[in-house]
C-alpha cells in the first residue's frame, strides 16, 4: 500500500501532502521535515528505508524534478520500481495538464494537483498507470467544474429525497 505522497520544493516547503493513513497535522509536518532531511545526492538509488519514521518495511522513493521533490511512501506490498514508474506517470500527467509544469503551477493549482492525484492513486492503491487515461478523467472534471449548473437536473439520486 502507498502510505503517502508528498511534493515539496528544494527548500523543504510542502506543495502537496497526502497521506492514505490519517496522520495528525504535527506528525505530517514532522514527516515532511524528516523526509526533506533524508534527501540524498544525485546518482544514488532513489529508495530510502524509513523504518524509523513509519515502522518496519516501509520505504520511500523520491525523485527530483527541477525545483520539486516528489516522494512516495509505501510498504512492502508494493514493487519499488513500479512506484518509481508511477511517480513518473504522476509527473507526466502534471506536465500534460499544465503543459510544461513548474513549481508555480503546483502552488497555485494545488486543488487540481489533488484532483490529478486522486485519479492515479486511490486509498493507497494504484488506480491508473496510463497518464492519457488520467488526463482524460481530469479534463472531464474540469469541464464539470466550469459548468456545474447544468449537471444538477440529471441527478435523480438526490432529488428523490
Amino acid at each position: 500500500m502507498i502510505r503517502g505522497v508528498i511534493i515539496m520544493n528544494d527548500q523543504g516547503k510542502p506543495r502537496l501532502v497526502k497521506f492514505y493513513e490519517f496522520q495528525p497535522v504535527e506528525k505530517q509536518q514532522e514527516l515532511v521535515r524528516s523526509i526533506y532531511r533524508s534527501r540524498r545526492a544525485e546518482n544514488v538509488s532513489n529508495f530510502v528505508k524509513v523504518d524509523s519514521l513509519f515502522g518496519p518495511d516501509v520505504r520511500l522513493v523520491y525523485k527530483t524534478f527541477a525545483t520539486l521533490y516528489f516522494v512516495f511512501i509505501f510498504d512492502n506490498s508494493e514493487n519499488e520500481l513500479a512506484m518509481l514508474d508511477l511517480m513518473q506517470v504522476f509527473v507526466e500527467t502534471l506536465d500534460k495538464c499544465f503543459s510544461n509544469v513548474c513549481e508555480l503551477d503546483v502552488v497555485f493549482n494545488f486543488k487540481k494537483v489533488h484532483t490529478i492525484l486522486d485519479e492515479i492513486i486511490l486509498g493507497g492503491q494504484v488506480l491508473e498507470t496510463s497518464s492519457s487515461e488520467v488526463v482524460k478523467a481530469v479534463e472531464e472534471i474540469s469541464k464539470m467544474e466550469s459548468n456545474g449548473n447544468s449537471i444538477i437536473s440529471s441527478i435523480p439520486g438526490w432529488q428523490g429525497r
Binding site: R15, K18, N43, S52, E80, N109
Partner: protein
C-alpha cells in the same frame, strides 16, 4: 479553469509566498484563520438556530458532539446547505484555504462541518471541493463523517457517474467501519455492473478493498469468490489492475476461498507476456498515439543527439527542465517502432498489471495443478529471458519492476535449480549495471535469494562483484552489499570476505563501521578456519575500529587464547599483540587485550628481540596512560590484571626457568618478599600501615598487593610488606609478591566499593601497601605507573601515600585534594579529603535540580576527634542545608551528615566546606570545595536527528547559541573526548554530524529557574591540530549557554590532575556490576576492588 479563477485564494497563496520568514507566515495564516472562523461562526449560529428549532435543542454548547450523535440518523446534510449565510463560492474558497493552511502545517481545528456539508451541495464544483477537502482533513473516526454517510451513499447509488467517482474516492480514502457496513453492497454492485464505465468500476474495486480492510466480513466469501474470478476476465486494463489489487488483499486474507482465481491469474500473465513477445523488443505499454506522435519524435532526436555525444546526463537534466520524463519509461527502439507503425495502443501491455498479478500469485502458498504450474513457469521463463538486461537497463523502471516481481515469484514457487540459477545470473547482471536503483534492488533480491538453499554456490560466483559494491558511492547500496556478504559467508569463503570487510573498514563511513566490525567479528568467529586467523582478525579489527569492538569481542579473544592448548597459536597471538604495541597510537582496547595476552604468555616470546619481560613491561606501561585517561573501569581492570599476571608469571617457577635465568636476582628477591610478609603477618592492618609509612621515610619500599592463591580464603588482616633495596633491579618490581589483603583496615566510605570503583578507595585499601619504585634507578618510569594504576593520591614521584614529613608538626592531607575533588566531579561517591586522623567521604545522589549529599566523617584513630565544625559556604545559585555535625567523633567511628542541595540557576561557582577539628593539640582547618558542579545537574538525554535539528536551528545565535574557538586544548583523540563528554553527562549522539571529526552531544540541565532545559553541543575538531577546536553551545537560556560553554572549556583545556603525567585524568567510575568471581582468585578480588 474554475479553480484558478478563485481570486481570493490566489491572493492568499501569493501573500504566503511573499512572507519573508516563518513568523510572517504564521501571522498571515492566523489572520486568515481568524477571518474564516468569524465567517463560519455566523454561519454556524444560523445553522444552529435552524436545527435547534427543528429538534428542540436548547443548549448552546450541545454542538457539535451531541449534535452529531443525536441527529446523524435523522438529518441529512442537505438541509444544512440551504441555510442562508455564506454563498457556495465563499464557502468553497474558505474550505480550499483551510486545506492550503493545513498543508502548510497549521492545525485547522474548525470548519470541518463546513467542509463536510459541501459534500451535499447540489453543484459539482462545491461537491468536489467538499469531497476532496474532507478526505484530507478528517480521519475515518470523525463524527462529522457519519453525518455524511447518507449523502455519500446517495451519490454512489445515484446515476451521476462523476458523483459516483467523487463518493468512491472519498470512501476509498477515508471510509471506516461504518462506511463498510452500510456501503459495501452498493460498491460491489458498481464493480460488477456491466453498464458502468470502467472509470467508475476501477474506483469501486479499490473502494471495496478499503472497506474490506476495515471490516473483512462485508465481503461475503461464498458469494464473492466466483464474482472475483469473473472479474479477472475483464478486458479493461484499468478495471483489471484495480481488481488485481483487490484480489491481492482478499487472497492474503483467505487464499483457499479464492483458489479458483489462481489459474486465471496465470492466464492473464500468459496473455500479457505473449503480447510482449509479439513485437519483440518493440513492445511497450500505455503510450497514447496522438501524444506520442506529436512529441516523442522531438525527444527521441534529442536523446539520440545526446546519446551520441555520450552525455545522457545532460540530456536528463534537460529533460527535467522541460518537465517530460518520457525517456524514463520508454525503450528507444520501441518508440521508433511505434512511430513507424502508427502505434497500436491496444496491443500494448500494462506492466503494472503484470506486477500486480505476480504479486497476487505470491499469496497463494503453492501452485498444485501441474498444468497451471507448467504454464506459469513457461511465462516466467519468458519474462526472465525476454528482457535484455544490459541493453534495456537504462532507467527502464517498469520493465525491471516486472523482472524483479518475476524473480520474487520464482523464489516463492521454489522453482527448479536451473531456473533459480537463471535468476541469480540475472541478478548478477543487475548488480553490475550503472543504474543505482537496479544495483540496489539486485543486491537486495540476491540477499533474499540466499534463503533458497540451492543457489548458495551460484551466488558465490558473484562474490567479486558484490565486494566491489562495498565501494559503491551510494551508502544504501554499500549496506545492501554488506548484508549480502554477511548472508553468503560460509567456511569456504569466510577468509576472503572477512579480509575484504577488514580492508574496507579503514575507509568505511563512520555510520557503517559499527555494523561492519560487528559482522566481521561474528563471521570470523563463526567460520574461522583456525584460531590464529581468528585472533589475527580481531586484533586487526581492534586496530582499525577499536571504538566499535565491544568488550565482549575482546573478552572472547582472550578466552579463546587462554583455553587453547596449542602453544604455537598462543605464541603467534602474543607476537601479534606485541607487534601492535609498537604502533605509535593504538586503541585502548588494543592495550587491554595486548596487556592481557602478554601478561599471560609473554614468556613464550622471551627469546625474541624486544620481548624480554622488561621490555614488554615497559612498553605496556608506556601505553597504559591511554587506558587510564579513558577513566574506564576496564582500563584499571587490565592494569591490575596485567600486574597480577606478571606476578603469576613470576610464580610459575620451574616451568619458566628460562625467564628466571634472565633475571638472576629474582629468586632472592622473592624470598625477601616472603620473609617480609611473614614478619608483618602478626600486625594488624592498621599498625602495619603506620609501620609501613614509617619505613617509607627511610627507604623506598615496593609492595604489590596480592594474595597467595594457595591460601584459599583470604585472611582479612594479612599484610604484605616488602622492602626493596635500592640497588635491585627496579624493573622487576612487578614480580614482587605481597601477601596482603587490607580489607576493612581503613574506613571505607562507599558502602559498595566493588561496584563503584574508586581510586581513592583503592588508595585506602592499599594504603599500607604502597608500590613504589626507587626513583633513582634505571627505568624509573615504570614503577610509578604501576603505582598510579593501583593507588591514586600519591605524590609526584610516587613516594607512597604518606608524605615524608608526615610525622612532623603539621598535619598533611593524604593524597591530592584537588585531584580528589576532580574525581568527584565525575562520580558520585568517593573520598573528598583524608589526613592521618580523619577521612571525609562523600556519597551523592543528584536528581534533576535536587541533590542529596551525605558527608561521611570517619575518625581513623583510637582517640576521639574533638571540636569538629563544618560550615557550608554556598554560592548564590545553590541553596544548601547541612544537617548538624556532632562536635566529637568517637574513635574509629564514622558519622554521616546529610546535605541538601537545590540548584537555583546555572552557574559554575562552587560551594566550599569549611571544616575544622582538633586532635590532641593540633587544630586542623581545611577548606574543601564540594563537587556540586554544573554537570551534576545534567541529565543525559539522547536526541534523534528529528529532535536535534529543529532545536539547533531554532536557537539561532547569541546569546542562546554561542560559538568559540578554543586553543590550548589538551590533545586527545575524538573517542577520548567522547568519553570525557559522556562522563560529564553530556551524551554524545553519534551520527548527527556527518563529519567524523566532529562531535555532537546533548543533555538536559535542571535548575529552579530554567527547569529542564535541553542543551546541545557541537565540537568541531581539527585532526591535524588537536590542540584547538571550535565549540558551539546552544540552550534556551543565555546564562546556561554561557556557563556551560565555560564549563566545557575548563574541562577541555585544563588538566584536572596537574602534576602527574601517568594519570592525567581523574579516574572515573562507571556503573558496572561487580564481578562475581570467586573470592579465592586474587585477580578477581583485585578486579572487584577496582
Amino acid at each position: 479553469m474554475a479553480l484558478s479563477g478563485m481570486r481570493g485564494l490566489s491572493v492568499f497563496i501569493s501573500d504566503i509566498r511573499n512572507c519573508q520568514n516563518k513568523e510572517q507566515e504564521r501571522l498571515r495564516v492566523d489572520k486568515e484563520l481568524g477571518n474564516i472562523r468569524t465567517r463560519f461562526k455566523n454561519e454556524k449560529a444560523s445553522l444552529f438556530t435552524l436545527i435547534s428549532n427543528d429538534w428542540g435543542l436548547k443548549e448552546e454548547n450541545a454542538m457539535p458532539s451531541k449534535f452529531s450523535t443525536l441527529l446523524s440518523d435523522r438529518i441529512t446534510l442537505t438541509s444544512l446547505v440551504h441555510v442562508k449565510g455564506l454563498s457556495p463560492y465563499e464557502k468553497k474558497k474558505y474550505v480550499w484555504k483551510m486545506l492550503y493552511i493545513y498543508m502548510l502545517g497549521y492545525d485547522v481545528d474548525f470548519g470541518h462541518m463546513e467542509a463536510v456539508s459541501l459534500i451535499s451541495a447540489p453543484k459539482y464544483p462545491e461537491k468536489q471541493v467538499g469531497y476532496i477537502v474532507t478526505s484530507c482533513l478528517l480521519n475515518e473516526n470523525h463524527d462529522f463523517l457519519r453525518l455524511a454517510i447518507n449523502t455519500v451513499r446517495n451519490d454512489i447509488i445515484g446515476r451521476n457517474e462523476t458523483f459516483q467517482c467523487l463518493a468512491l474516492t472519498l470512501v476509498g480514502n477515508i471510509g471506516g467501519r461504518e462506511f463498510a457496513e452500510s456501503l459495501a453492497p452498493d460498491v460491489q454492485k458498481l464493480l460488477i455492473s456491466s453498464s458502468c464505465r470502467p472509470l467508475v468500476r476501477k474506483k469501486a474495486a479499490l473502494c471495496l478493498l478499503r472497506l474490506f480492510r476495515k471490516n473483512p466480513d462485508v465481503v461475503n466469501v461464498d458469494g464473492w469468490s466466483d464474482r472475483m474470478a469473473q472479474l479477472l476476465d475483464e478486458r479493461d486494463m484499468g478495471v483489471l489492475t484495480s481488481s488485481m489489487s483487490l484480489l491481492v488483499a482478499l487472497v492474503s486474507n483467505n487464499h483457499e476461498a479464492y483458489w479458483s482465481c489462481l489459474p486465471k491469474c496465470v492466464k492473464i500473465l500468459e496473455r500479457l507476456a505473449r503480447n510482449q513477445d509479439v513485437p519483440q523488443e518493440y513492445t511497450y505499454y500505455g503510450i497514447p498515439s496522438p501524444w506520442l506522435q506529436g512529441k516523442a519524435e522531438i525527444y527521441l532526436r534529442n536523446f539520440d543527439f545526446w546519446h551520441e555525444l555520450g552525455d545522457t546526463d545532460s540530456w536528463c537534466s534537460r529533460e527535467q527542465r522541460e518537465g517530460v520524463g518520457l525517456i524514463n519509461r520508454l525503450n528507444i527502439k520501441s518508440l521508433w517502432w511505434l512511430l513507424d507503425h502508427g502505434c497500436d495502443i491496444d496491443a500494448l501491455i500494462n506492466l503494472t498489471l503484470q506486477v500486480k498479478t505476480m504479486r497476487a500469485l505470491q499469496y497463494f502458498p503453492t501452485v498444485e495443478d501441474p498444468n497451471t504450474r507448467r504454464s506459469l513457469f513457461e511465462v516466467l521463463q519468458r519474462i526472465l529471458m525476454g528482457t535484455d538486461v544490459v541493453k534495456n537497463v537504462n532507467k527502464n523502471n517498469a520493465s525491471h519492476a516486472v523482472l524483479f516481481e518475476a524473480l520474487a515469484l520464482v523464489m516463492h514457487l521454489d522453482a527448479e535449480k536451473e531456473m533459480m540459477s537463471q535468476c541469480v545470473a540475472l541478478l548478477g547482471k543487475f548488480i553490475a549495471v550503472r543504474e543505482p536503483n537496479i544495483r540496489y534492488l539486485g543486491l537486495e533480491n540476491m540477499t533474499r535469494m540466499l534463503m533458497v538453499t540451492d543457489v548458495h554456490d551460484i551466488i558465490k560466483r558473484h562474490q567479486a562483484q558484490i565486494i566491489t559494491s562495498l565501494k559503491d558511492p551510494d551508502i544504501s547500496i554499500r549496506r545492501r552489499a554488506l548484508d549480502l556478504l554477511y548472508g553468503m559467508c560460509d567456511v569456504s569463503n569466510a577468509k576472503d570476505i572477512v579480509e575484504e570487510l577488514l580492508q574496507y573498514l579503514s575507509s568505511a563511513d563512520f555510520a557503517m563501521r559499527e555494523e561492519l566490525s560487528l559482522k566481521a567479528a561474528i563471521l570470523a568467529e563463526k567460520f574461522a578456519p583456525d584460531l590464529s586467523w581468528y585472533v589475527d582478525v580481531i586484533l586487526q579489527l581492534i586496530d582499525k575500529a577499536g571504538d566499535f569492538v565491544s568488550d565482549d569481542i575482546w573478552f572472547r579473544v582472550v578466552q579463546f587464547v587462554t583455553n587453547n592448548e596449542d602453544l604455537q597459536v598462543t605464541e603467534a597471538a602474543s607476537l601479534k599483540a606485541r607487534e601492535y604495541l609498537d604502533k605509535p597510537a593504538i586503541h585502548e582496547t588494543m592495550v587491554k587485550v595486548s596487556a592481557y595476552i602478554l601478561g599471560e604468555y609473554s614468556h613464550l616470546l622471551a627469546r625474541r628481540p624486544g620481548c624480554s619481560p622488561k621490555e614488554i613491561f615497559n612498553i605496556i606501561h608506556e601505553k597504559l596512560p591511554t587506558v587510564s585517561s579513558y577513566r574506564s573501569k576496564s582500563g584499571r581492570y587490565s592494569a591490575t590484571t596485567r600486574a597480577v599476571e606478571y606476578h603469576a608469571l613470576s610464580m610459575k617457577g620451574a616451568a619458566l626457568m628460562d625467564i628466571l635465568a634472565e633475571m638472576p636476582k629474582f629468586p632472592e628477591r622473592q624470598s625477601s618478599l616472603i620473609k617480609k610478609a611473614e614478619d608483618s603477618e602478626a600486625d594488624t592492618a592498621e599498625q602495619s600501615a603506620i609501620k609501613l609509612r614509617a619505613q617509607q621515610q627511610t627507604s623506598n619500599a615496593l609492595v604489590l598487593t596480592d594474595q597467595r592463591p594457595a591460601n584459599g580464603t583470604p585472611p582479612v588482616s594479612q599484610l604484605g610488606l616488602v622492602k626493596v633495596p635500592n640497588m635491585s633491579n627496579a624493573d622487576q618490581s612487578t614480580a614482587e609478591q605481597g601477601l596482603t589483603h587490607a580489607n576493612g583496615a581503613l574506613t571505607v566510605v562507599d558502602p559498595q566499593p566493588p561496584s563503584t570503583p574508586s581510586p581513592d578507595l583503592l588508595g585506602d585499601l592499599l594504603g599500607p601497601l604502597a608500590i613504589e619504585g626507587p626513583s633513582g634507578t634505571a627505568p624509573p618510569q615504570s614503577e610509578p605507573r604501576v603505582a598510579s594504576g593501583l593507588e591514586v593520591g600519591a605524590n609526584e614521584d610516587a613516594l607512597a601515600i604518606a608524605p615524608v614529613e608526615e610525622q612532623a608538626n603539621t598535619i598533611q592531607p593524604i593524597g591530592d585534594i584537588a585531584e580528589r575533588f576532580h574525581a568527584l566531579c565525575l562520580k558520585d561517591s568517593g573520598v573528598l579529603y583524608e589526613d592521618p586522623y580523619i577521612q571525609i567521604g562523600i556519597k551523592a545522589e543528584w536528581r534533576a535540580h535536587h541533590g542529596r549529599v551525605v558527608l561521611f566523617l570517619g575518625n581513623k584513630n583510637i582517640a576521639p576527634l574533638g571540636s569538629v565544625q563544618a560550615l557550608m559556604l554556598a554560592p548564590s545559585h545553590l541553596k544548601m542545608e547541612l544537617s548538624l555535625v556532632p562536635e566529637t567523633i568517637p574513635p574509629r567511628a564514622q558519622v554521616q551528615c546529610p546535605l541538601e542541595v537545590i540548584n537555583l540557576q546555572p552557574s559554575r561557582d562552587l560551594p566550599v566546606l569549611d571544616f575544622s577539628y582538633k586532635f590532641g593539640t593540633h587544630m586542623v582547618n581545611v577548606k574543601l570545595r564540594l563537587p556540586a558542579v554544573l554537570n551534576k545537574f545534567l541529565q543525559p538525554i539522547m536526541v534523534s536527528p528529528e529532535e536535534f535539528f529543529p532545536q539547533w536551528r531554532s536557537l539561532s545565535g547569541p546569546p542562546l547559541k554561542l560559538q568559540e574557538v578554543v586553543r590550548g586544548v589538551r590533545p586527545m583523540l575524538l573517542a577520548e573526548m567522547a568519553n570525557l563528554f559522556n562522563s560529564l553527562r553530556l551524551i554524545v549522539c553519534p551520527g548527527l554530524d556527518p563529519n567524523a571529526n566532529n562531535l555532537v552531544a546533548s543533555t538536559t540541565f535542571y535548575s529552579e529557574s530554567t527547569r529542564a532545559m535541553l542543551c546541545l553541543i557541537r565540537i568541531e575538531t581539527d585532526p591535524a591540530d588537536r590542540t584547538q577546536l571550535r565549540m558551539t553551545i546552544a540552550s534556551g537560556d543565555p546564562a546556561l549557554t554561557f556557563e556551560l560553554k565555560e564549563f566545557i572549556k575548563e574541562q577541555l583545556v585544563s588538566i584536572p590532575v596537574p602534576s602527574r603525567p601517568p594519570a592525567p585524568m581523574p579516574p572515573q567510575a562507571r556503573p558496572t556490576s561487580p564481578p562475581s568471581a570467586a573470592l579465592s582468585d586474587p585477580g578477581a578480588i583485585l578486579a572487584g576492588l577496582l
